[in-house]
Symmetry: C2
Subunit: 384 residues, 2 copies
């Protein structure tokens, strides 16, 4: 097991009816900025529950955070915070809304000239505004971690930052808020969680029994519940398991003591930035390519996953690894997720654009830092 440190102070309040807890969780005298997306929370009753729970607190609304939230949008929110002397942020929505809030929280108190430096130059976040979240779309894990991904519309750059200062103080997870999600978002959420777990698991073994088994537990749960959710979108237990799985998939826990390989996300971010694909869509396309091209490096874990997660016990390690990768592709397709670039009307010409950007950044991805731009070309060529 590798050395590690783990720290996660976010309080999770989970279950039906728990949005009412906002009254106990948000300071009584807070001037709240309620941050949300396209307004679906006004149709499914979540908005009403939130407003009711906030009672007499002064609430300003900031609507319109887009998927893959823009830096420019965040700056608009920062202006409002300064104008209205807001002192508490409350994102209500999915990972995009919470990610935007993390950046807004940091940018509002940023003392430098240009808060984009937090992303582009990884300038340390020294302070951030307090916030708690109400999650309505399980996927990114943002509700219980310290990371966020923001896109600069102007330059089509999608970049991440991490800081202990932007852990949500609390996150409320009520599975009933996910009943009305469109199928596409359910699929994206399951794929996103699945890939998060794979990226912290499918590297090389370090005799880390607990993190391995915890990761396998989440994968098994996604396979089990993911196979049922489309036909049972208002089954409380299915939705509960998927929601908690998404949070645990990226709250730091299963990364403890493990090597990690975030190449699927890094390649996917470029596809989203250039071609405006859903984040989840890029992952279901890229992951099988990463696993195939890097199969030799990941063979032990692929074979372990084949057996423990998919019940594939026959054949050589390589055969089992191949079967496991096929099983993942089949699972993604069963959810309606694309697995090839052609599924989203992209052809080989997109590859140069992505590879060129990675070459410019000088990134070598993967647990062994050997996923070079030329390997990325191989990976994406596998996905045409």
């Amino acid at each position: 097991m590798n050395n590690f440190s783990f720290y996660n102070p976010t309080k999770i309040v989970f279950g039906k009816g728990e949005i009412a807890q906002l009254d106990a969780l948000v300071p009584k005298t807070a001037k709240v900025l309620l941050i949300y997306g396209s307004g679906s929370i006004k149709k499914n009753g979540v908005y009403d529950q939130v407003i009711k729970a906030l009672g007499k607190r002064k609430v300003t609304e900031f609507e319109g955070v887009e998927p893959n939230p823009y830096f420019e949008t965040c700056l608009d929110a920062v202006s409002i915070i300064k104008q209205k002397k807001i002192d508490f942020l409350l994102p209500v929505g999915g990972g995009s809304v919470i990610d935007a809030t993390k950046f807004i929280a940091a940018a509002a108190l940023y003392e430098g000239k240009d808060s984009w430096d937090i992303l582009s130059k990884q300038v340390e976040v020294k302070q951030a505004m307090p916030f708690g979240s109400v999650l309505t779309l399980p996927a990114t894990g943002s509700e219980m971690n310290k990371g966020a991904v923001i896109t600069k519309s102007e330059t089509k750059e999608k970049l991440a930052f991490h800081s202990d200062k932007v852990f949500p103080q609390f996150s409320i997870l009520d599975p009933e808020t996910t009943y009305s999600l469109p199928k596409r978002q359910i699929t994206n959420g399951i794929v996103d969680t699945f890939v998060h777990v794979i990226e912290q698991y499918c590297t090389y073994p370090v005799r880390n029994q607990i993190s391995d088994r915890f990761a396998e537990s989440i994968l098994q749960t996604l396979l089990e519940e993911g196979g049922k959710v489309m036909k049972n979108p208002t089954d409380y237990d299915i939705k509960s398991n998927l929601m908690w799985a998404a949070t645990l998939g990226l709250n730091g826990l299963i990364a403890c003591g493990q090597p990690e390989d975030w190449s699927t996300h890094m390649i996917g971010h470029e596809l989203t930035a250039f071609f405006e694909l859903d984040h989840g869509v890029t992952l279901s396309i890229v992951l099988p390519g990463v696993l195939r091209v890097m199969k030799k490096d990941k063979l032990d874990k692929l074979a372990q996953m084949a057996s423990r997660v998919f019940g594939i016990n026959e054949g050589s390690r390589t055969e089992r690894a191949d079967k496991a990768i096929l099983a993942i592709e089949r699972f993604f397709r069963s959810l309606g997720a694309p697995t090839h670039l052609s599924d989203v009307n992209l052809d080989a010409s997109c590859i140069d654009i992505v590879v060129e950007r990675l070459e410019k950044r000088g990134w070598a991805l993967g647990e062994r830092h050997n996923i070079t731009p030329s390997k990325v070309r191989e990976i994406l060529t596998n996905r045409i």
Copy 2:
């Protein structure tokens, strides 16, 4: 899945050499009370590592915290804190030392007349001194939770308290510090962890896939590594997995959304209080009795555990449950843990004493609050 809330702000720093991190984790100007037990840390090099890492900080020592720490001992530490104007506590040891520190941290700032009320009357802890720990004996999970168990020597009462104020700020877990543990303490630690997990798992199913599988992951790891550790006491990976298992066994995580049954611990505490048995010893004796006597109530989970943890797939659910209980007893005995009262020279006469105490308290234990004193009699009679 049941509603739940989860909050755990303790920072874990895990791995060989990490005691040196104390210099970064303890405030530079702290006046530290270093709290430890019988002095084994002076023999195995841990004390030297700690003193070196603390550098020029002013350190006062408080030696002699006993297993099942006494309230009276804690009060001695509180006096020293007041005399020496200590402002940071640093327990170095196992669960007893950390539990004692939690109580000391609360008692030092307690404004009432008698700090025993925190335990006997469950008076709310409003403030506590800051502290971080160095763990040297994986077992209780105290290094990453908010609970502590303290014994009043005078009245032979062993009672618990819980408070968000007594989470350690940090805990350093270096598996190498556990290389020199005597066999008895390794056994007690594995049994304690195993029973913690069972008490949060072996109740009735609530379709909580993740918490179930996480619990099973820890049990599987204990079986796997517990079977090897006695012959390989200095195997870093075995010790790492056992150490992390113990922390995760009682940090609140696997309890999320689950019913719980702490009857084995509650009955065990009385056996320790009256007969001075090791905590772990009481658990390996009591648990099989609880599972046998409450088998009907726990049948679904016992059968699930039989299959998923022990690979027992043949026979009816009742047969599988029986086999799982036998497998647990065999595992405990393979570690050298006693499983009957006669193994520790107790006979039926001890039962009345325990049952009488529980009757006085009016406790009905278990996930369905149906483990009444007369059920406890049945459980202990099963263990003669």
